[in-house]
């Protein structure tokens, strides 16, 4: 995992293109625009929500460790109209701050941001943590290669996360 101490770029100089991309990704997730959200992913995409901050997903269980195929399954289930745990869907708004570029080489950028997410479904739940993104420059613009969600409470029992976190 990326060493989160290694700050490569001060927030003010993070390229606007990168920030725009993840803010857009956040909006699609907030608004349950599943198909559009799915289209952001690269073919080798990994969507990861570990059960702790420094766990090896090959030997330790995660809350989510979706390869691109499983991201597709997750979206297909949400689109089926019978995903009870998102019927009705959560209403959400998330804030992204404290952007940092952690690395930039070979056409791929690692970007980090803090987030807070207000999710309402029956009651309002606050989710918070850090997003780590790996973004790839392609001929068609940026694509999402990896999104890691480090929840501050990932060692504890968490509520259902059937929405896109």
């Amino acid at each position: 995992m990326t060493d989160i101490q290694a700050i490569a770029t001060p927030t003010g100089s993070v390229p606007a293109e990168l920030v725009d991309f993840v803010v857009h990704e956040a909006r699609l997730a907030d608004e349950n625009r599943y198909a559009e959200w799915e289209s952001l992913w690269a073919d080798d995409g990994i969507y990861w929500i570990p059960t702790g901050d420094h766990k090896d997903p090959q030997t330790q269980v995660s809350f989510v460790f979706d390869n691109r195929h499983r991201i597709g399954s997750r979206i297909a289930q949400l689109l089926s109209g019978r995903r009870h745990s998102q019927t009705p869907p959560s209403k959400m708004r998330r804030q992204l701050t404290n952007f940092e570029v952690l690395s930039d080489e070979g056409g791929e950028v690692e970007l980090a941001a803090n987030f807070s997410l207000f999710e309402h479904r029956y009651t309002t739940t606050v989710w918070a943590g850090r997003y780590l993104y790996r973004l790839r420059h392609t001929a068609d613009g940026l694509s999402l290669v990896k999104k890691t969600v480090l929840l501050i409470n990932n060692e504890s029992a968490i509520k259902t996360i059937a929405f896109i976190l």
Binding site: Q60, V61, S85, A157, I161, A162
Partner: protein
């Protein structure tokens, strides 16, 4: 120090459980009444056998994990004598929580409040500024060790504890559920399982009995899991078929199971329980199993697969996962899920971890929807009419088999009736004292 059962009379001792739990229905208040919950903690969780941990979580001397039973914080630790002890996580001086980490290795626990130290077998070692007491240090030590569960036992690596009194022999308590643990362990060519991949922890706003009931419910999948079967992949067996040979079984003692054995045997295909993978994906596993059992028995084991068995009151052998629950309040339950690594079958481990994340836990394609049902159930049960919850399906399909009361109608509520009849016995025994 031994733990004393809170003998004070509880408000819920006066309830007539024989009236509230009938053959074919139970009263809704059993899921929503906080006084009844308090009595459940005393009469079920604190004075009967419950699952606390697995030996693979604490393999070495000094290893420990923190757990809770009935709201009481525990340390489950392996001493330097390699014995497993279940101790209350409370300093015997003024009650501070002694151990702060979820898991670790320690020879000593030092209380952060005034510095007393306890060895990992619970004995009081050091008292800071020891001169301040009338007793000698030796006397303090003999009186003030950590409180320990009255009974601790293991079967197939599963550690069970009874906090207070005498709950009888562990194997008697396990009864017909013992075979389910055997069935799981025999999946490993090395004769053991390992839960070191860790637990997913899922917070459910539902009564613990609601969470248990759905684990062995063959009636709900077509409805609750429709989105998975239609959008992603069909169920491993055809739940809509009348020909399906899936049994639901009350094993006695509150234990129950959904038994796919007859259906799998009829299909005679290996790994139906594991996405139908071909043998070529796990050659070393096959070789080790055949070396141990020979080809024929290996085939049978790979056809029959692991158990789908609920062990009263908090453990669920969910095929390639182990789950357990922790009741926090009458309306809140934590559900824990760990992938099973089969010792000697390491080439399956990563796949089992991925299967666990796909199906189970807070984001799982299956369990997120089961949890949603549990939470809606809890809301519905707050309506006062009708008063009863029905468990009347399938009486006339039941027959007595050696393993227990069995129905080959998988929608029969045989498993839930088994849980409730045992509950009724436990809740009645102490009411009339």
């Amino acid at each position: 120090m031994t733990i004393r059962l809170e003998q004070d009379r509880l408000a819920a001792d006066a309830v007539d459980y024989e009236e509230l739990i009938q053959r074919d229905r139970v009263h809704g208040s059993l899921y929503t009444d906080a006084d009844i919950f308090q009595k459940e903690m005393r009469d079920i969780y604190e004075s009967q056998w419950v699952f606390v941990a697995h030996e693979s979580e604490i393999p070495e001397a000094g290893d420990y994990v923190r757990r809770r039973i009935g709201g009481q914080p525990l340390i489950v630790a392996r001493g330097k004598d390699l014995k497993v002890r279940v101790m209350l996580n409370r300093c015997t001086h003024r009650g501070n929580m002694l151990c702060q980490s979820d898991a670790g290795n320690a020879t000593l626990f030092r209380c952060s409040f005034h510095g007393w130290t306890f060895s990992n077998d619970g004995r009081l070692q050091g008292v800071s500024f020891r001169g301040g007491y009338e007793q000698s240090l030796g006397e303090l030590r003999s009186e003030l060790g950590l409180a320990e569960a009255a009974q601790v036992g293991t079967y197939g690596g599963f550690i069970f504890a009874n906090l207070t009194g005498d709950a009888g022999d562990l194997e008697d308590y396990l009864g017909n559920a013992k075979d389910a643990i055997d069935r799981l362990v025999r999946m490993s060519p090395a004769g053991g399982i390992d839960l070191s991949a860790g637990w997913m922890k899922h917070d459910n706003n539902a009564n613990w009995k609601v969470v248990n009931e759905v684990q062995v419910d063959g009636y709900h999948p077509l409805f609750v899991h429709e989105s998975l079967y239609k959008a992603i992949k069909p169920a491993k067996v055809d739940y809509s078929s009348d020909e399906l040979r899936v049994a639901v079984r009350d094993l006695g003692g509150g234990h129950s199971e959904v038994d796919y054995t007859a259906e799998y045997q009829a299909q005679d295909r290996e790994f139906i329980w594991f996405s139908g993978i071909p043998r070529s994906r796990v050659p070393n596993y096959i070789e080790a199993m055949e070396a141990l059992h020979g080809p024929e028995k290996t085939h049978d084991i790979l056809v029959e697969g692991p158990p789908h068995t609920f062990i009263w009151p908090n453990l669920f052998l969910a095929e390639m996962q182990v789950m357990y629950i922790e009741p926090l309040s009458v309306e809140q339950t934590i559900q824990y899920t760990a992938p099973i690594k089969l010792l000697g079958a390491e080439e399956m481990s990563a796949r089992i971890i991925r299967q666990t994340e796909g199906a189970m836990g807070p984001a799982g394609f299956l369990i997120a929807d089961d949890a949603e049902m549990g939470e809606r159930n809890q809301v519905g049960l707050h309506a006062q009419e009708p008063e009863w919850v029905l468990f009347a399906r399938g009486f006339d399909t039941e027959k007595i088999e050696p393993r227990g009361i069995t129905s080959y109608d998988r929608t029969s509520e045989t498993s839930q009736r088994g849980m409730w009849q045992h509950y009724r016995t436990l809740m009645t025994e102490t009411s009339n004292d």
